[in-house]
């Protein structure tokens, strides 16, 4: 139990390494993958339970004090992210096991390593370690996206890779400057030093953290850095695209983590400066992404835009910087991850049932297994448009209710109008794909039905939404507490700095 915080990284890492030893046989690979998945789910659940006690779990890797080594820190938010990732990964894995994992070399290894990267990024309390895990998850995502692909996917992949390497380079620039200015990489320690920074240094620290902000926003697809996403996500294989929905959230999470802890309410002159940039950017992104969803030529592109829209909504929520809005944002984050993932899976099933027309919206084509797919699309569409009673609505209204008085007009208008745009977009694609479907021409057999595993995978994701709707109250209580923890970072920082190693001497 004492080692719980490190397990979400270790379990998939070991599983990924084992995958390399079993060769190309799919059976053992799947066995390892599901064993690891089960272990990860259990770990994540336990972690969330532990975190919900309200204390910050600090795990000192190598038994070094936090400022010397690397400390993993688990608060409610990071535990929530880990749990969300694990819950998301299970259906994605299931979907992939319906056949894609045979076609994409190294799929299972890359999948596990991607999970390791994601969890590492969520759990680490060290800025450079965050960079490393960003890279782990990114490089695994390159592999997941491109393995077994060709043609347009390669082009999208090239964009994705080049863009992210550029962003990573900026990340390093920011890190170098921040280390040069504060002399530490541990976020808790850095927060202390930022707060006590020499007045001459403040502008420089701000410049460095501005570059850092660009990096995170690039990963989270915020204006003007979101343009890579629709292309990438709509070209990724379904199971992978579904898993990717949590990747933009990593960027959002990083912003939340760094800019509450390091540049949060106690950062002296720098307190909360990032939010002033993020609110307008979030609003603009939300509007543009909703227009993008409206204009999309394919269902998958549409979902990709909706992913951006959800990230933008999160930025709006977080940039309002009140406990209630952050809480609503966290809730929204969880549900939007699931719903967009479900939509990617559904889009893939639809695509496979429409023959050459694929998921293009401008072509009428027969749709096999219309009833089941139509139902799935309907539920997911309702959820993503933020219509009641699914959690999308709950998240949205919790967010609207949390908007501080001064910002009501702007934020409400944006959120409500873009919800309408999303609704129109989903109604358009649903009616084009399902309703406008012609009958199959005589003699042409309907395509093979979606595999059971695929349907279950999509069903599970939608099931999460249903469950989330029913247990909204406890979840929101959890996110409320998480937001309170985030916005009052001093105890967390003290806990991280003050945790004593097991055997070694603490830092003076």
């Amino acid at each position: 139990m004492a080692h719980l915080p490190v397990l979400p990284v270790l379990v998939p890492l070991v599983a990924g390494a084992l995958m390399l030893l079993v060769g190309r046989r799919i059976g053992p690979q799947r066995a390892i993958a599901w064993t690891a998945m089960a272990a990860l789910l259990a770990t994540a659940a336990l972690l969330a339970r532990e975190a919900d006690r309200g204390e910050i779990l600090v795990y000192l890797l190598g038994d070094w004090p936090a400022r010397l080594g690397i400390a993993l820190t688990v608060d409610r938010t990071s535990a929530l992210m880990v749990l969300t990732t694990a819950l998301l990964a299970a259906p994605c894995l299931l979907y992939a096991c319906s056949g894609w994992d045979r076609r994409a070399p190294h799929f299972h290894a890359l999948f596990q390593l991607q999970l390791a990267g994601l969890n590492g990024a969520f759990l680490t309390g060290d800025l450079f370690n965050l960079f490393v895990f960003f890279e782990v998850l990114l490089i695994a995502s390159y592999g997941l996206m491109l393995s077994g692909g060709r043609g347009p996917r390669m082009r999208a992949g090239l964009h994705y890779v080049a863009f992210n390497i550029t962003a990573s380079t900026l990340f390093l620039v920011a890190l170098g400057l921040l280390y040069g200015l504060t002399g530490t990489l541990n976020m808790a320690e850095m927060s202390l030093r930022v707060a006590a920074a020499d007045p001459d240094d403040v502008a420089l620290i701000q410049a460095a953290s501005g570059i850092l902000l660009v990096v995170f926003c690039a990963k989270a697809a915020l204006l003007p850095l979101y343009l890579w996403l629709p292309e990438t996500y709509s070209h990724a294989p379904a199971a992978v695209a579904a898993l990717f929905t949590v990747m933009t959230k990593v960027g959002v999470y990083a912003v939340l983590r760094v800019y509450t802890l390091v540049f949060g309410s106690e950062a002296g002159e720098l307190a909360g400066w990032a939010w002033d940039w993020l609110l307008p950017a979030g609003i603009a992104t939300l509007v543009l992404a909703s227009l993008g969803a409206l204009a999309s030529p394919t269902l998958r592109a549409q979902v990709s835009w909706l992913v951006i829209a959800s990230a933008a909504t999160l930025f709006i929520a977080f940039s309002l910087d009140t406990p209630a809005s952050v809480s609503a944002g966290l809730y929204y984050l969880v549900q939007s991850t699931f719903v967009t993932a479900a939509l990617f899976l559904i889009a893939d099933m639809v695509r496979r049932q429409r023959g050459k027309a694929g998921d293009r919206l401008d072509i009428a084509a027969p749709l096999g297994h219309k009833a089941a797919l139509g139902l799935l699309l309907l539920v997911a569409g309702v959820a993503v448009a933020g219509l009641p009673p699914l959690p999308g609505f709950i998240g949205k209204f919790a967010l609207l209710a949390a908007v501080p008085d001064g910002r009501v007009a702007l934020v409400w208008t944006t959120v409500l109008v873009t919800s309408l745009l999303a609704l129109v977009a989903m109604a358009r694609s649903g009616s084009q794909l399902v309703w406008r479907a012609e009958a199959f021409p005589d003699g042409a057999a309907a395509p093979r039905p979606p595999r059971t595993a695929q349907r279950i995978a999509a069903g599970v994701l939608l099931g999460y939404l249903g469950a989330l709707m029913l247990v909204s109250a406890p979840v929101l209580r959890y996110t409320d507490a998480a937001a309170a923890q985030l916005l009052a970072p001093a105890p967390a920082a003290d806990a991280i700095r003050g945790t004593a190693p097991t055997k070694r001497a603490p830092s003076p």
Binding site: L20, A109, V132, A162, D200, L288, A427, A473
Partner: protein
Amino acid sequence: MLELLLALPFVLALLVAILRNVPRAATAWLAASAPLLGLAILAWYTPAVMSGEIPQVTHAWIPQAGLLFDLRLDGLAWMFAGLVLGIGVLIVMYARYYLSSSDCAPRFFAYLLLFMGAMLGMVLAGNLLLLVVFWELTSVSSFLLIGYWTHRKDAREGARMALTITGAGGLALLGGVLLLGKIAGSFQLDVVLASGDAIRAHPLYAPMLGLVLLGIFTKSAQFPLHFWLPHAMAAPTPVSAYLHSATMVKAGVFLLARLHPALAGSDLFFYTVSGIGAATLLVGAWNAIFQHDLKGLLAYSTISHLGLITLLFGLSTPMAVVAGVFHILNHAVFKASLFMAAGIIDHEAGTRDMRRLGGLRRLMPFTSALAIIASLAMAGVPLLNGFLSKEMFFAEALEIRGHDAMRLGVSIAAFLAGIFGVAYSLRFVHDTFFGAPPDLGREIHEPPRWMKIPVEILVVACLAVGVVPALTIAPVLETSARGVLGPALPEYSLAVWHGFNLPLLMSIGSMVLGVTLYFGLRRLFDIHAVIRRSLGRRVFRGNVQALLRLAWRFTYAIANGNLQRYLLLTVLAALVLAAAPLADGALLAGAGAGQPMPVLGWVVWAVLAAAAIATVALHRQRLLALVVIGAVGLAVSLVFVFLSAPDLALTQLLVEMVTIALMLLALNYLPQESPKGRSRLRRVRDLAIAGAAGIGVTGLVYATITRPSQTIAGELLARSLPEAYGSNVVNVILVDFRGFDTLGEIAVFGIAGLVVHALLRRSRLTPTEVIPGGPALLPMPANLSQLLFPLALAVSVYLFLRGHNQPGGGFIAGLVLAIPLLLQYVIQGSQYVEQRLGFDYVRCIGIGLLAAVGTGVAAMLFDLPFLSSGHADPVLPLFGPLPLASALGFDIGVYLVVFGGAMLILSMMGTVKPRRKAPPAATGDAAPRGTPA
């Protein structure tokens, strides 16, 4: 029990949807059982409700956000629930026969029940947020119902239009309700209704009212947002009958009634609501006259009647409210029967176009009689229910106090609407049932018995209410009106005859003038030739198209799939955010003095800068750029050497070599030259941006490194040897202090190998240029490299073992292992090497990762955190002390992963198979010279 009442439709909808293969009759009965049982439950509550009690149940849902699952059955809810369920039963019965055999009945009934449930939930909701939840649910389920005939374009369009408009209204309502909750401090209906005065006095009252009314007006199809309703007529008739008589459109007026105590009472409310209501009343009625479709006429008439009800609620006097509630009831009854009648005609005659119909009186006398009675009710003819509420309306219009202009206007509007109402009712009756029978090429006869029963029931209700209102409707009306008004319920009497008064005069006048108008219009011109295109629809369509076009243009003007733009924006964003805080010249404040610069340093600087600039200058000739960039790498390692970083210098040198190998391998499959960029302007722009970035970075770095350092590294130095047993602090940091970073780093490295493997394993690529001739034979270099190989391996082992104390370590050693092997590949050819020295590099990575993780996990067995280092000094006989640090195990992992990863990447790239057939020459590439070997 209330929960049960609400759950019934949903449960049965699910049941109907699941039991797809049962006979249609069974499905219909199953579906009908929901409203029937619901009615029974409602009946059970009736005595309580009538006696003024308000049964209520509350469950927590999201209490912290004010969203409670609260159901509340007051008079208004009771009346509406009865309407929803009662008409629901009839609709189910009717639909059973209406649907053709090709229609999927379970889907229809499931949707219908879903909608019924949503309506019920809305009327029963005791919490405003819950109400919004169900409100939106009605939008969604009505979308499904209207679009039921999915193969029809008008159905799809109508459904989307309805969803768009009502969905927009729903979102506005959500905003309004949230404001209302903020103002009232609670979303509980009881609280909100009780704090009307506070609400009206609140500064946010106006925006809140605007948002709520927007929701209401869209749902109840008020002018100018009414146009979705006629297009929703593409739905099957039972749907229209249900949605547009008793339920969907009534949701809007229901909410108006529901929130009446909280909202009404201000001038703003009065003018807005009654103004919009009056406009809708007239626009709807006037348009109804000129419709040719039976259902279109009914739709516009519905709009008009909804305007009437809205107007009544806008007037806000208690009596007007009573009249409004009364008209809700009456309109539901006669309009449902009329829709059903229209459906029967459509069903039997195959058309609803009045220009083609006529004389049905003789072909289907019974149905005709029913329809005529119902339309007379619509026209407000005495002894029918429509007359009573219309009479009350006239009376109220004349009673308006304090707003003289309004009184005149509303009275005139009411009178005109009465005239129009008579005219369109007359058109309905006259064009359909009188005149010459049409020749439609089919036998027209009475519909099945059961199809008529619902109509009969409703028409009987019209008559009963119209003739003896006090015995039939009075208690219902009173109960429901009390639900709105509470104790303020006024004294009123429901009677056919109130004496000879002004309202009666208006009734008579409107009837006479209505008849005159209809026949006058007929005489003046051919009504049938008038085609009124719906302006609203055109505007809507135009707007949606414009929005789509705008979205398209906007989106693809920005996200145009051009990586250069994405990268440019990224760079610019970073520039702006980094420059913004420094704009006021804060950059150099606090900068300290630097160290002196040795002359040799400038030499290195010159190599670095010159080679970097040359790389840019030569970049279009790629091979040259590669040669030159090698010098940049060398210069960078020299910088590391001079500035006390031996490990870095080694790593940089080795990585440089591997990178060049990588690039050269790739260059074989890429064009040898870059074409010149098209635009000079762009080059200049890029140069400017690059220059700005360079200057910016220079400034930032200079400002940063001339400040005193506050690093924690002193502690690392002090604790490295005693606690981590290594004197090369950089290596100690890598494998101990920050071993987790290194674990991630080797994971990245290993994954890179896997990705390259996955991408190249099965792919066949065409080299851009193939030099004719067989593989180069290099016997002498081969021979020398043979000699070099074991020596290099020995050096690799040496570097690995001493890494903890001196420059070296797993990473460097791994590359020193890999590069000689790579050299073997280059000189001897891949096939030769792999046949003789077949490593499974993938497995090598796996083992390395496991070794690294395993070393870390070992610490956990001693109850220490992951990656804690251990240390032992066993003394071996003969050999003396053997220092063993657990970090060595970790470093073995690094060593294996780096070796495996690097070799996997390079060998995969080196062994790409050429494509069997050369692809057509690509545009822009140099045409391949020679032929693939």
